[in-house]
């Protein structure tokens, strides 16, 4: 056990997997000589050299496709998107190549690739740099979508993603990189994909969240506890495949649900959870499932407007009050 930041946990996962498997390499903009725009790859060039830590031109479509090609012939690329906003330029390679080659080839050729980097908003980066696209990737069969919220999950899930034989979209959070927590230093410890984590057990209401909404959800649970509402907080960790058992088991016990996510509402991840829950646990619901999400607008630059746009603890508390018919 070591106490380290989310950033260093990702760094450790990369280092360990690169030490473990010669086929694993890191490629992206500024990952090598600059040690990463957000320093996630700090020191890796020094340790592994320019062959395995590869700086690219600004050409997301090109270098992502090169990564997909390398994966098709057995390498295990980790492609860093400086942020997932830029992955839109590479999305054809992700959706039409990475996600489909195994199927189109009748199972002959797999694509063991990880595409990782920060997603969602940070602070005042404006409309083009503050977008959460996880629902888009989760919409696509053939992809897996992983979004760790803590340093321990970041390390264990990135290691599992690198070892996974499928294309994995691994979305981090710029606002999470400095978050500290205890992380196992066992190089063999991986956290299996597709398993949610109950970050706080509770009996009165289930708050489902992932990535940057986990901390606000836990803060909300604390506030609610003071009011005598005992909230269970489920961190999905993997968006696709979704851990339906953990979600449904909780819902059948608490009968009330709030789903919080960072992104926009229309056909967001929360909408899929509502679909799942009302379909599989219809009779267990004592109230409609409510959602907390970004205001349905492009992210404004002004800091007050931005704060008002974001999902936060007070909004989660308010939603819980509603589903509990309190206030």
């Amino acid at each position: 056990m070591a106490n380290m930041t989310y950033r260093d946990a990702l760094n450790a996962a990369l280092r360990e997997e690169m030490q473990r498997d010669e086929n694993v390499f890191l490629m992206g903009e500024e990952v090598a000589e600059y040690d990463g725009a957000y320093k996630v790859s700090r020191g890796l060039l020094k340790e592994f050299g320019a062959r395995r830590v590869v700086d690219t031109p600004i050409a997301e479509l090109g270098f992502t496709g090169i990564g997909v090609g390398a994966a098709m012939v057995g390498l295990r690329p980790v492609i860093e998107m400086m942020t997932f906003n830029f992955a839109l330029l590479a999305i054809d390679q992700i959706v039409n190549a990475a996600a489909k080659v195994r199927y189109m080839s009748g199972g002959q050729i797999g694509v063991p690739i990880v595409i990782r980097g920060p997603g969602g908003a940070a602070l005042q980066l404006g409309a083009q740099h503050s977008q959460a696209f996880e629902s888009w990737y989760a919409h696509i069969p053939g992809l897996k979508v992983v979004m760790p919220a803590t340093p321990a999950d970041a390390k264990g899930l990135l290691k599992a993603s690198i070892r996974d034989d499928n294309p994995v979209i691994f979305i981090e959070g710029e606002m999470l990189y400095n978050l500290k927590g205890d992380v196992s230093d066992d190089p063999d410890l991986v956290i299996p994909l597709g398993k949610a984590d109950i970050k706080r057990p509770g009996n009165d209401v289930t708050i489902i969240c992932h990535s940057k909404t986990v901390a606000p959800a836990l803060a909300a649970a604390k506030t609610l506890a003071e009011e005598g509402i005992d909230a269970e907080v489920i961190d999905l960790r993997t968006i696709r495949p979704l851990d339906t058992d953990t979600v449904l088991t909780s819902v059948r016990r608490t009968n009330r649900v709030v789903v919080a996510e960072e992104g926009w509402s229309f056909a967001g991840v929360g909408a899929q959870l509502v679909d799942l829950i009302q379909r599989e646990a219809f009779d267990a619901l004592d109230a409609p499932v409510l959602r907390v999400h970004q205001a349905d607008v492009p992210m404004p630059y002004n800091k007050h407007l931005e704060k008002a746009a974001k999902a936060d603890a007070p909004k989660i508390v308010a939603a819980v009050h509603h589903v509990c018919y309190k206030g």
């Binding site: 090109g62 090169i66 090609g69 390398a70 054809d92 189109m104 063991p112």
Partner: protein
Amino acid sequence: MASSQASKKGRSDAPFADQYREWLQMMVLIRHFEEKAGEAYSLGQIGGFCHLYIGQEAVAVGTLAALRPDDYVVSAYREHGQALARGITPRAVMAELFGKATGCSHGKGGSMHLFDAERHFMGGHGIVGGQIPLGAGFAFAAQYRGTDQVSITYFGEAAANIGAFHETLNIAGLWKLPAIFVIENNGYGMGTAVKRAAAITELSTRAASYGMPGVKVDGQDVVAVKKATDAAVARARAGEGPTLMEIITFRYVGHSMSDAASGTYRSKEELEASRQRDPIVVLDSRMRELGMLDDAGRKAIDAAVDAQVADAVKFAEESPEPDPAELWTDVYAPEAH
């Protein structure tokens, strides 16, 4: 254009008799295979989009003759010719067009998505330009592993105007990847002539933007294609980097089965003119000139090919449909236990 005038002197060609015969037979096979595919399509035995390779045979045969079995090949949706020239059996290709379980993609890919992992045939791809970064990726892997494999990536001239071409060639030139990029310039992208799609029509010169040699090749002369590809392969294997080949050829047919060969966007006359230097005739004549072929020999080739194609169709017709459960497989890797 890199031409094969030199080779016109019998002496230099003589030792190649077997090769030439092989190439001729493969070009004839592709031609007959495509003609039959066209018929099967009209009969409703083949569905979806179907893009025939008729007229371009020398490009696939000449380029792939220069490669090793462990090199990598990737193409677009007009890839039947490359699949056959790479050695995928006519049975497996025809069965794939028929969507049968015995097809080279098990019936799940279709005409635009032929794959054969064993032969390093990394697929036909349907998004224009989409295969270009993939081809560079195979070359990257070879460089990463320190093997001397090369990759060859085929795309049409219209694909030279899309972003993936630019991003990939710049990276390939920068990293000196062992890659060969082949522009199959058949004059049209669907109904759009080169000069209506590209600001310059000498596409091989775009190589200069990427620090790699660009060579223009006569795509109706399989010998010229082979020679030019040999040079690009040698350069790549030697670690000297990629080459951009612009191979000039002609599409004798419509863009796809739903497009007429001539009419709206090109005249009957133009089409006829383009047929004057038929790649099969060009090689056939040279071989006769060199005493490598006579009527009997040619008849034998045609007969062998006809039998092969007929067998492929019969095989495709008689092959089973994929099991209904196949709908759900190959989306993700089988769970490792």
